[in-house]
């Protein structure tokens, strides 16, 4: 299939502002957009820059906006897009470092703020932890996240308030809050009970829509809200006693 890639180009060192550049490309059957971009780079313009690694939708490197839709370039099959003009843009809400490469630092910084790691007990239990599979299943959805940044980038709250932690970080926090092996207490994690944390979400579910891994981060945010309220009520009762 003959098509035109209209790619947003920008080199902050050389260019005053971003611009679109067209590349014509003959896509063979089942060609992924990532493979196509590599061909374009190799044959037409060696300065064209984009991130990639696994090419099988598990490393989260190649998120971008393709004909207005957030997705991973590697799992986007060119001839399935049903259009000969393909507009390719970097993830919004993040600064462009070069062409389709954006600065992910704000995304990582937001993640770090939720302390996105298990707080283990002092001792490893002999013969390991006992956790029923149905409990593990509760966190499976969130553990499936590949940190591609689609949700953060598509989030309307992030776009107007850069202090907002964003969907991926909050969903990750929920994954640990639900993990029976985690030892962080309510006072520690409930510090996200703020306008830039769980209460910042507009519940328009853009994150659920754009996630290429069906993590549904908003589910995690909603559940965190419920747990915050529940936790606060419990604290009140404790104090009264």
């Amino acid at each position: 299939m003959k098509c035109t890639f209209r790619i947003l180009r920008f080199d902050p060192v050389e260019d005053e502002c971003p611009y679109f550049e067209d590349f014509s490309y003959e896509a063979s059957e089942k060609k992924s957009l990532l493979e196509a971009l590599m061909d374009v780079r190799n044959e037409q313009d060696t300065t064209l820059s984009f991130r990639y690694s696994c090419r099988e939708a598990v490393c989260g490197s190649c998120a971008m906006v393709i004909n207005g839709k957030f997705d991973l370039a590697c799992r986007t099959i060119v001839d399935s897009l049903g259009s000969s003009l393909i507009v390719i843009e970097p993830l919004p809400n993040l600064e462009i470092q070069k062409d389709l490469i954006v600065d992910m630092e704000p995304f990582w910084q937001a993640l770090h703020k939720v302390e996105p790691y298990l707080f283990p007990a002092e001792e490893i239990p002999e013969k390991g932890h006992r956790v029923e599979d149905r409990v593990m299943e509760k966190i499976d959805q969130f553990a499936n996240c590949i940190m591609c940044g689609c949700c953060y980038s598509a989030c309307p709250v992030v776009s107007r308030d850069e202090r907002y932690l964003g969907p991926a970080a909050l969903a990750k926090l929920y994954r640990f809050v639900r993990d029976p092996r985690d030892r962080r207490g309510f006072p520690r994690w409930s510090k996200v009970s703020t306008e830039t944390g769980v209460w910042g979400c507009d519940t328009v579910f853009r994150c659920n829509e754009v996630c290429p891994r069906t993590v549904r981060p908003a589910d995690g945010i909603e559940s965190l809200r419920r747990r915050v309220v529940l936790g606060k009520i419990k604290q009140l009762f404790k104090r009264e006693r």
Partner: protein
């Protein structure tokens, strides 16, 4: 100048494990060509082996049995004491991963679930559905955040710096700024992964060019057993994306174009769960005999497992098939063919992960201890990364304990970086010449066609000759018009030189080894020959040429016998 006590190169599982195990009083940093979460370790699907004995009717599993399976699977080329170390440490390693947050799938009662894998006498492979690598990388990366391990992301190491026969640092190409800089380190640990992309058909990520192994070789460190290249039986045709061995572990069948489970002809008792070398060869033989489809593939049939089990145990495989092939494995069999998957060989290290170069350590797929010998069992590579990654971190720390805190000369470091910079500038100033990616494709084609599953003297000789020709052409490649910031083209060009060395070492090792063992199948020498070849191949760069030598295999208590499955 950036300076650390321990510099870990590579942010995948071996690198993260090493950084987490390093002495916290030392300054440790990871430098990685991609963000650690983009490492190829995330693509590991099926699982990680340990003799936990959690499967209800298999509680008598033991690490000794695991060691035996590993050694037999290796076609007796593994160093037996190293394989024993790996398997003994496996059990506490899994409990530690679980304790650090890896969301392993569970059996009723809450213990870690285990599934059968190829070449194993027991259900020994622990898993997190079919995204075990992803789960473990994320958990360890998260713990590295907790420990505030410094990470330099998107920086490609291009050279090891050696002064007075000691490793004192590396040169990096920093993609974001386009700068080429020295990094000083008192100890360097390579955890740079495998070289899958020297083959045209591979399950590996695009980043797996194997340059870490090449850089070590160029610094004079020997490479071991490079001729042993694992071809995974089941990669999706035509994209060669992996379908985990777990798919067969859960009960999947391999079918030829007559609808027959052809493994009955090759491994009557283990069937689809014979070791990978045997299954991959069987598939290729079926295809070559005309029993495949379009002379390219056979089928992996999961339909009888039912949609529910496929969705629960193999969700990523299902997702990949739907997304990349437009095919639901619950409804249709998956077209599969063998593809390069893993490098058994690598940087020669001992079981403390030390190399012949003082202050330089290696772990994971880039290293060869050897625990996998001539054929690795599925589920043992993730295990190797966490066990030996940890050992590398501990040993590098211990190495520094006894070392006086003398800073290596700044001049050597700056000079080496300058030399690298000059090399790049020379490439960029050339105005005409062949494009590097086309030349690289030629190299990959040679490897896939002549140094693949089945090998002969004449083809290996041809391959060596062609690699040498490509090396000459590489000297004339043109790189004009590139921008130094975020240049994957420059990355590929730098790594290409390493790939030439690696392919030469693989091919030379394969040519010299006149026997068939594990993944190394010589049509002209179809038998294993323990009398002459129960030994490791070592290839060292001496005066610009590869020099081949050998070292005996360490045997403890498992007497080499014929492999039957």
């Amino acid at each position: 100048m950036i300076s650390h006590d321990i510099l870990v190169v590579g942010g995948g599982l071996a690198g993260l494990s090493a950084a987490l195990a390093a002495d916290t009083r030392l300054s440790t940093a990871i430098v990685s060509r991609v963000h650690p979460l983009r490492s190829h370790s995330v693509a590991a699907q099926g699982g990680i082996n340990a003799a936990l004995g959690n499967s209800p009717d298999e509680q008598d599993d033991s690490w000794e049995r695991h060691a035996f399976d590993t050694i037999k699977g290796s076609d007796y080329l593994a160093d037996q004491d190293a394989a024993e170390l790996l398997c003994e440490k496996a059990v506490p390693a899994i409990y530690e991963l679980d304790h650090l947050g890896v969301p392993f799938s569970r059996f009723p009662g809450g213990v870690i679930a285990q599934r059968p894998f190829g070449g194993a006498g027991f259900s020994r492979t622990c898993y997190a559905a079919d995204r075990t690598g992803l789960a473990i990388v994320h958990a360890l990366y998260e713990q590295s955040l907790r420990r505030q391990v410094k990470v330099y992301g998107e920086a490609l190491v291009t050279k090891l710096i050696v002064e007075n026969e000691r490793c004192v640092g590396v040169v990096i190409y920093d993609l974001a700024t386009g700068q080429i800089l020295p990094v000083r380190a008192r100890a360097v640990i390579f955890a740079t992964g495998g070289y899958g992309r020297v083959y045209l058909k591979t399950t590996n990520a695009y980043i797996n060019h194997g340059s870490g192994i090449g850089i070590a070789y160029q610094a004079g460190v020997p490479l071991k057993d490079m001729e042993f290249v694992q071809f995974h039986p089941t990669s999706i045709y035509p994209k060669n994306i992996l379908v985990t061995e777990g798919a067969r572990g859960e009960g999947g069948y391999l079918l030829n174009n007559k609808g027959k489970r052809f493994m009955a002809d090759y491994a009557a008792s283990a069937m689809e769960l014979a070791p990978r070398d045997i299954v991959a060869r069987a598939i290729q033989m079926e295809i070559d005999k005309g029993n495949g489809f379009d002379s390219e593939y056979v089928l992996l049939d999961l339909r009888h497992l039912g949609e529910k089990k496929i969705q629960k145990r193999l969700p990523s495989v299902r997702e990949i098939c739907i997304k990349f092939l437009g095919l639901d494995p619950a409804e249709k069999p998956i077209p599969i063919q063998p593809a390069q998957h893993y490098s058994m060989g690598g940087i020669d290290v001992n079981d403390r992960c030390a190399t012949s170069l003082e202050g330089f350590f290696a772990a994971g797929e880039c290293a060869c201890v050897s625990v996998h010998g001539a054929n690795r069992l599925g589920g043992n590579s993730l295990l190797e990364t966490v066990v030996f990654g940890k050992i590398a971190g501990q040993e590098a720390s211990r190495h520094l304990e006894g070392l006086e805190r003398k800073e290596p000369g700044e001049k050597t470091l700056l000079d080496e970086a300058l030399a690298e910079r000059n090399k790049v500038e020379a490439w960029m100033s050339r105005t005409s010449g062949e494009k590097a990616h086309r030349l690289l494709n030629r190299l990959k084609l040679v490897m896939s066609e002549k140094v693949g599953l089945f090998r002969t003297k004449s083809e290996l000789e041809e391959a060596l000759e062609e690699i040498r020709e490509i090396r000459e052409d590489y000297g004339r490649v043109c790189l004009s018009g590139i921008c130094l910031r975020y240049s994957q083209v420059l990355v590929n060009m730098i790594e290409f030189a390493c790939m030439l060395d690696l392919t030469e070492a693989i091919t030379l090792g394969a040519l010299r080894r006149e026997e068939t063992r594990g993944s190394h199948y010589r049509l002209d020498f179809p038998e294993r020959n323990d009398a002459d070849w129960l030994k490791h191949t070592l290839i060292t760069l001496k005066d610009g040429r590869p020099e081949v030598s050998y070292r005996p295999v360490r045997i403890t208590k498992y007497k080499p016998e014929e492999r039957k499955y």
